[in-house]
Every structure is written in structure tokens, then in C-alpha cells.
């Protein structure tokens, strides 16, 4: 935030103090999965997101990049209202899924989260068997029918490229798996309830290169089935897996566009500085 204040003092703000987002995303052809309009977010008195506006294309992979503390994770966690757990949180603007505002009155947060699978930085399987982990989203819905649960486990584990490794140990503890397997299990758990959007918060940051490669392949496989929003610190990863990239800086979206354009010929000088490693 110190940088933000310095910037504000040294360079006079443009018109209303907000840089307009440069906007050139690739179209997925199926419309938008998430429509974020003029979204602001405050943690107490600190504004973490400034007037963010992007629309996430259905079926494509959207990467959020930017230096630490720029609001990538905050934006991601706003999409399934995980930030609700934070005290003193305020928002304005809207985030629309299928035309209804998820911050509107009377929204069922639990139903919303079921439409948004989420994968976290560190693998966080529950202290249960692999089977119970994958079926957890269904069981909290009260589904107990064995055939449905069995089918879901196989579908989700296959989707997460974990079926072959896990099929013989479905009833052993998930905590006995390797870190990479655990993260894929978390992805399986996230897709078990058949969500529309997959939110991934730096899913590979705790993994070794081989496990990372597996997850990246998996993301490529899942592309098309789900709209994926992925936060990443690794620009090469963003370049490899995503269709569109949003570059964020100080809580603002500086540039949102097709990944190859953002990484080769960015339209904003600051994006260029970041992707070429001049700061960040």
C-alpha cells in the first residue's frame, strides 16, 4: 500500500483516479460464465479491489496474474463468496452468474458455492477416506444412494486423472497420498458436484515440477467442460494453460486479453514491464 500512496502522490491521477482496463479478451463463443461489473471490495477501511470489470468466457481458462498483494486471490475468492468469512468486508458493484447477482439480496450462498468448485493453494483433503472426500459435496446435500455416490467417485476421479492411482485404495485415508495426488483429489472433490466454474487459487504453488505438470495437463483436459479461473504466480504457467489473462495491479485490472497477446504484445506499458520481469 505504501507504493500505492507514493504513486498517487507523484503522478497525478487520471480523471477519476482509475486507469481504464484495456480490454481485448478472446471470445469463447458460448457467452460469459461470470460477469463482473464495477466490483469494489473493502477489508475494513482498506480497499482491496477497485472497480474491477471483466467477463469470464464460458469454457475457457482465465488466468489472473499480478504481483503479490494485487488482489488476485481476493477477486477469485469473491466469486464464490469465500470472503464472507472475513470480518468487516464490504463490496459494491456486481458479479453476475447467469444474469443474477451473487451479492444480491436473498442469494443462497451454499447453492452458489456448489456451482463454483474451488481448489486451494495447499492441498486440503479432509481426514477421511478418498471415497468420502470425493463424495463430501454430495453427502452434505443428503445424497446417500450408493450407486450415485459410486458413479460420482469414478467420474470425478477420472476427470482429475486420479482414477488409476486411487481405484484400489478408495477406502484408505486421503492423507496417505502424495502432495500432487492430494491436490488432484481436491480437484476431483471440486468437480464432484458438477459445478459450472472451477476456481483455482495457485493450485501448484505447493507442488513439485512433475506434479505441477500433471495438474497443468489436467487443466488442459478440463478446459471446455468447465469455465476455469486460475490465479497463478508463475507467468509461464499462465502462458501455458490459459486462454485469457487478466493482469492485476494494486487492486485494479490493468489489462485483460487473449493470453498470447498479453504475453507477446501487451497493450499497456505496465503489463509489458511485469511480463518481461521488470518488476513484480
Amino acid at each position: 500500500m505504501a507504493t500505492a500512496q507514493t504513486t498517487a502522490q507523484t503522478t497525478p491521477p487520471r480523471s477519476d483516479g482509475i486507469e481504464p482496463t484495456v480490454y481485448h479478451p478472446r471470445e469463447g463463443g458460448q457467452g460469459s460464465a461470470l460477469d463482473i461489473r464495477n466490483f469494489n471490495l473493502w477489508y475494513g477501511e482498506t480497499q482491496a479491489l477497485h472497480d474491477t470489470t471483466i467477463d469470464v468466457q464460458k469454457g475457457l481458462v482465465t488466468a489472473l496474474i499480478g504481483p503479490s498483494g494485487c488482489g488476485k486471490s481476493t477477486l477469485l475468492r469473491s466469486l464464490n463468496r469465500m470472503n464472507d468469512l472475513v470480518d468487516g468486508l464490504r463490496v459494491s458493484g456486481e458479479v453476475k452468474v447467469d444474469g443474477f447477482d451473487i451479492y444480491g439480496p436473498g442469494v443462497d450462498v451454499i447453492a452458489l458455492r456448489k456451482r463454483m468448485g474451488m481448489v486451494f493453494q495447499k492441498p486440503n483433503p479432509f481426514a477421511m477416506s478418498i471415497y468420502d472426500n470425493v463424495t463430501y459435496p454430495l453427502r452434505v446435500d443428503g445424497i446417500t444412494k450408493k450407486s450415485i455416490l459410486d458413479d460420482t467417485v469414478e467420474r470425478a476421479l477420472r476427470a482429475a486423472a486420479l482414477w488409476d492411482e486411487a481405484r484400489d485404495r478408495l477406502y484408505t485415508s486421503a492423507l496417505g497420498m502424495s502432495g500432487g495426488q492430494q491436490q488432484r483429489l481436491c480437484i476431483a472433490r471440486a468437480v464432484a458436484s458438477d459445478p459450472e466454474v472451477l476456481l483455482m487459487d495457485e493450485p501448484c504453488s505447493a507442488l513439485d515440477p512433475i506434479a505441477t505438470a500433471k495438474i497443468e495437463n489436467l487443466i488442459a483436459d478440463l478446459r471446455g467442460q468447465y469455465s476455469i479461473v486460475i490465479v497463478t504466480h508463475s507467468m509461464s504457467q499462465a502462458a501455458r494453460v490459459s486462454d485469457n489473462t487478466a493482469f492485476m495491479y494494486l487492486g485494479r485490472i490493468i489489462e485483460y486479453g487473449a493470453t498470447d497477446t498479453v504475453f507477446t504484445t501487451p497493450k499497456v506499458a505496465r503489463t509489458n514491464d511485469y511480463v518481461t520481469g521488470r518488476f513484480g
Binding site: M82, M116, G117, F120, N124, L175, G176
Partner: protein, 591 residues
């Protein structure tokens, strides 16, 4: 760090290091600097502190081990049969007893004056100290005392006669002396060990039969008659004395009382018959000076020739005394017999306390940690809870008596048991109020431990669950609580340990020195939470410090302490076992 770097340390740095640098500098030689492997002043190295810490730990361990060893030694030695000595005194007096302990003492001037010159000189040479031994002479009914100090200089001779028996009686405690007469069916018979053993077995069976009839069947009928009387009283209160309904109900009850009375008579007659038969088998005991006591043989609990026992027989007696201790009721003002009611009371009270404290403490902690908005109010509540743990336990006792027993119990009596008034049913100390009081006493421990366990559940777990579309309650129920369970169990264990060892508040809310009826028995409704109970902790206090004969109580204090410690260790160990199993289930959940 190389030596040249040490020279770069500025003088304003740590003085110890600067000192090292300075000392290193003086050791320069033309061929280069000698690098010392170790150099620091005493304040910088940890060794002295390490010795102090280690010493403190060792001291603590020695104290605890010594304490346990003393308790165990005294406790486990108590029931071992000891020889009976016949002591002739210089005064011509003769006594028989079991030497229990001895030690030096300083005889008073009056005693010294009566001694001959030689003994006096010997005592004077020993700085005025003489040695004496405490004999358990028993025979309280004859002597009016159980113990007697005998100074060594009084003793003319000690023998261990083979025919002296150590006889434990149902009443009047131990008898030490000979068995001189045995009468079966009114006729004297020859005394042989076999005959004694056979007649004793039969006599004890009769004794058990009489007791079973009186305590069990007759006790049950008495309880039923009492219930009918209360039913009459209730009908009078509820329906009005003159109303026809009341009259009908009273008549019904009276008919039932008459039936029960008849049954009572039959049982009573049967008991009298056995007792009459029992009275014909008698035994005559003679103490060392020839005074005789005659009693029913069934009144003898256990007898053995103390000086002719083989090792096997001693072990047999030792084990049978232990068995009696844990399985029988106390006799002789709690200084003999068993402590079954106290064991039962302690366990029942502790378990009942856990039943109350577990849900209450866990729910409170859940709300405080998971639901309440963290702020000034919650921190005030937290501080208050922590302070509650520091309130002296007797204060809880007073509160329990005033609030639970008198206020709550009194109200319950007026609403539900008006027929028994003015006799209180719940409006006095009882096992229910005692466990509630202890639950109140231990709830801070559970709250604090549960809160810590809850806050130790990683945020990522909760988020993972919430992101799956689980509600907050489902997250707590399926993810947080299982993960926190080992920590919650730890809190339970601490609460149990504290509760089982607490005595002071119990003395106010329901513990008594002798409770003839257990809180659980065969009379409907089988569990009587209003009853007073016995407690091992209070038993120790009562036997050791409140009985008519505290010398007789000392061994029981140690034995009961051993038992109480064993009980608490067993309860805690099983709780720890359960906790560790839970822990293994959720092990390696984080990395």
C-alpha cells in the same frame, strides 16, 4: 565465522563476543592466528542453566516417585498377615498383639524414676532416648482400646505362640487370642482346623443368607411399603382427604400394604429361623490373660493362626483381604471391611459429571469460538471462564448446596414430591447435585481445551468444506469437530482427573461417611440420583482423621489412597487410549 571477521565486530556489539575477539587477538603468533575451538564466558554458554533445569526436573521426579513409592509400600503391605507376639512385661503383666511400628522416644521423668539404675543409665547413655513398639492388642470390647505402646525396657520376654489366632470379627473389630471352645447345635465339639474351617464356611453362608434377606428382600418390601404410604399421602394432598377418588385410591394402597406386610412377615420369619439356627453354632475366644468372649461363629469374618502360616496361606489371606476390600461394605466405622460403596460412588459421580460437563462445555466453546462475534464481550466471557477455574472448590460446594440442593431440589420436592415433605427427596445433598457441582467446577477446563482444539483446526480445512457447499454447521459437524476431538478429549481427561480428586465441595453436596444404599439398585426406578453416596477421597479423610480410632485407620488411609490413585489412573488411561486412537485416525492431516 573466521577470526578476521570477528575483528570486525564493533565495540558497541555484544560485549561477550567483543571479549572473545579481544582474547583471540592476544593469541596471535608470527605463523598465523590460532583458532580456538571453544571460547566464551560462562554467561554465554548454556551448561550451568542446563544443569539447573535438569536438577529441577530430577528433584520433581524424585519427589513424585518417592510419594508414589511410600503410598504403594504402605498400601500394599497393609493386608499382609503379620505374626502375633505374646509379650511378658517386667511388671508381670502379659499382653498379646501385632507389632505395627516402633521408634525412639524420650521417657518422662516420672517413668524414669521408677526404673532401676542400670536401665536409667542405658537411657541416659542414649541421650535420654528409649525405643518402644506399638502393639495392636485389639480386643476392643475387653480393653477399650486397640493399641498399646510398649517400651523395650518394660519387656521381660517375647514369644510367638502357635495357638494364637488373629480373628477379624463383624463387630468390635479384631480379636487376638486363642479359640477355646466350639459349640455346634448346642453341643461342644472338638476343635480341629478342618472342623473350624467347615463350620465357618457354613456359618458365613447363613450370615450371607440373613443379610441377603434383610438387605435385599426385606429392604425391597420396605421400600414398596414406603412408596404406598407416600401414594396415600399424595392422594390426600391432590384429591382432598374426603373425596371419593382419594378414598378409593387410599383403600387400594392399604390393601397393597397389607399384602406387602404379609410378605414381610414371611420373610422375617424365614430370617428369624436362620438366625435361630445360627445362634446354636458358637465359638469361645480367650485372650492372653484368660478372659473369655463367646459369640456366634458367623460373626467371625476371617481367622488364622498368625504364627504358623505358610507362605501360600499368607498369600491366600492377603488376596482374600484385598478382595474383601474392593467387594464388601465397610464395617467398624470404616476402619475395616471394604470400600465397594465408595468405589461405586466415586466412579458413578465422575461419569455422571462427565455426562453433564461434556455437552455443556463443548457447546459453550463451540458457540464462543465458531459463532459468537469476536469482540470485547467474548473476551470478557473468556477471562471470566478462566477465572472460574481458579475459584476455591469449597465455594462451589457452598453454591451447589445453596442453589442446586436447596433452591432447585427444594422446588422439585414441592412440585413433584409434596407427599414426602417435610422429608426432602431432592432438597438435600445427593449424587445428582454433587455431579452438577463438579461439572460446574470443571467446565472451564473443558471450555478452554475445546476452544484451543477448535482454533487449532486449520482454516484451509474449513474453507475446503465451505467451498464444497457445506453449511457452517455441516463444516463444524463433519470437519471441525472430528479434527478437534483429540483436543476435546484432552480437556475431558483433565476435567475428569480434577473432578475425581475433588473432595471439599462434595462434603457439602452429598457425600456421607456411610451410605447403606447405592445410587443404583434393584428397586425401581433402579437409578436413584437423589441418594447420598460415599466417595474414596472423603473416605480417606473420614477414616484417617474422623474415626474414633485413628491408629486403626492409618493402614486404611494408605490402602484407600492406593485404590483412589489406581481408579483415577485407570479412568484417565482409558480416556487417553480413546484419544490416541482418535489422534491416529486424523494423524498427518497437515503438512
Amino acid at each position: 565465522m573466521s577470526v578476521s571477521q570477528e575483528h570486525d565486530i564493533p565495540a558497541s556489539g555484544v560485549t561477550g563476543l567483543a571479549g572473545i575477539a579481544a582474547r583471540e587477538a592476544t593469541q596471535q603468533t608470527p605463523r598465523g592466528r590460532r583458532v580456538r575451538r571453544f571460547s566464551a564466558d560462562l554467561s554465554a554458554v548454556g551448561e550451568p542453566a542446563l544443569w539447573a533445569f535438569g536438577g529441577a526436573l530430577a528433584l520433581g521426579i524424585i519427589l513424585i516417585a518417592g510419594f508414589l513409592a511410600m503410598i504403594a509400600w504402605n498400601g500394599f503391605a497393609t493386608f499382609w498377615p503379620k505374626p502375633v507376639e505374646r509379650v511378658e512385661l517386667t511388671s508381670g503383666e502379659v499382653l498379646a498383639g501385632v507389632p505395627t511400628r516402633g521408634g525412639p522416644y524420650r521417657p518422662g521423668a516420672a517413668v524414669l524414676d521408677q526404673l532401676d539404675a542400670e536401665t536409667r543409665a542405658a537411657i541416659a547413655a542414649n541421650d535420654g532416648f528409649a525405643h518402644r513398639t506399638l502393639y495392636q492388642t485389639a480386643n476392643f470390647d475387653l480393653y477399650g482400646d486397640d493399641f498399646r505402646w510398649v517400651s523395650d525396657f518394660e519387656v521381660a520376654g517375647i514369644t510367638r505362640p502357635d495357638d494364637f489366632f488373629y480373628i477379624e470379627r463383624q463387630q468390635w473389630g479384631v480379636f487376638i487370642g486363642r479359640i477355646v471352645g466350639l459349640e455346634v447345635d448346642g453341643a461342644a465339639v472338638e476343635i480341629t482346623p478342618d472342623r473350624l474351617a467347615r463350620e465357618h464356611r457354613a456359618a458365613r453362608q447363613r450370615f450371607a443368607a440373613i443379610r441377603g434377606l434383610e438387605r435385599g428382600d426385606i429392604g425391597r418390601i420396605n421400600a414398596l411399603i414406603e412408596r404406598e404410604r407416600l401414594a396415600i399421602r399424595r392422594a390426600e394432598i391432590r384429591l382432598g382427604e374426603e373425596s371419593p377418588e382419594a378414598q378409593a385410591s387410599i383403600a387400594e394402597s392399604q390393601a397393597r400394604i397389607a399384602e406387602l406386610q404379609a410378605e414381610f412377615e414371611t420373610l422375617q420369619a424365614r430370617a428369624s429361623a436362620i438366625r435361630a439356627e445360627d445362634r446354636t453354632t458358637r465359638i469361645t475366644l480367650e485372650e492372653v490373660n484368660g478372659r473369655q468372649v463367646e459369640t456366634e461363629f458367623s460373626q467371625i469374618v476371617r481367622f488364622f493362626p498368625a504364627n504358623t502360616l505358610s507362605l501360600t496361606e499368607k498369600i491366600g489371606i492377603y488376596l482374600s483381604r484385598w478382595w474383601e476390600f474392593v467387594s464388601a461394605e465397610p464395617r467398624e466405622a470404616n476402619t475395616q471391611g471394604g470400600v465397594l460403596p465408595a468405589i461405586f460412588g466415586t466412579v458413578a459421580m465422575t461419569l455422571l459429571m462427565v455426562v453433564f460437563v461434556a455437552p455443556f462445555g463443548v457447546i459453550t466453546a463451540l458457540y464462543l469460538r465458531e459463532y459468537a462475534k469476536q469482540g470485547r464481550l467474548t473476551s470478557i466471557i473468556r477471562i471470566s471462564v478462566n477465572n472460574l477455574a481458579g475459584v476455591p472448590s469449597i465455594v462451589y460446594g457452598v453454591f451447589g448446596l445453596g442453589f442446586f440442593a436447596y433452591a432447585m431440589g427444594g422446588t422439585i420436592d414441592q412440585v413433584f414430591f409434596p407427599e414426602a415433605l417435610p422429608n426432602p427427596t431432592f432438597g438435600k445433598g445427593g449424587i445428582l447435585w454433587a455431579s452438577l457441582t463438579l461439572a460446574l467446577l470443571t467446565v472451564p477446563v473443558v471450555i478452554v481445551a475445546t476452544e484451543e482444539a477448535l482454533s487449532a483446526v486449520p482454516r484451509s480445512m474449513r474453507e475446503g468444506s465451505l467451498a464444497c457447499g457445506a453449511s457452517k454447521w455441516q463444516t463444524i459437524r463433519y470437519i471441525v469437530l472430528p479434527k478437534a476431538m483429540p483436543g476435546i478429549m484432552t480437556g475431558m481427561i483433565l476435567a475428569m482427573a480434577r473432578g475425581a480428586g475433588e473432595v471439599a465441595p462434595l462434603m457439602l453436596v452429598g457425600v456421607v461417611k456411610l451410605a447403606p444404599a447405592l445410587p443404583v439398585d434393584g428397586i425401581a426406578p433402579f437409578i436413584h440420583l437423589d441418594r447420598s453416596f460415599m466417595h474414596l477421597g472423603f473416605h480417606i479423610f473420614d477414616v484417617g482423621f474422623q474415626s474414633r480410632n485413628s491408629e486403626a485407620g492409618i493402614p486404611m488411609v494408605f490402602v484407600t489412597t492406593v485404590l483412589l490413585l489406581t481408579l483415577i489412573i485407570t479412568m484417565n488411561a482409558s480416556a487417553i487410549y480413546i484419544r490416541n486412537r482418535l489422534k491416529r485416525k486424523y494423524a498427518s492431516g497437515e503438512f
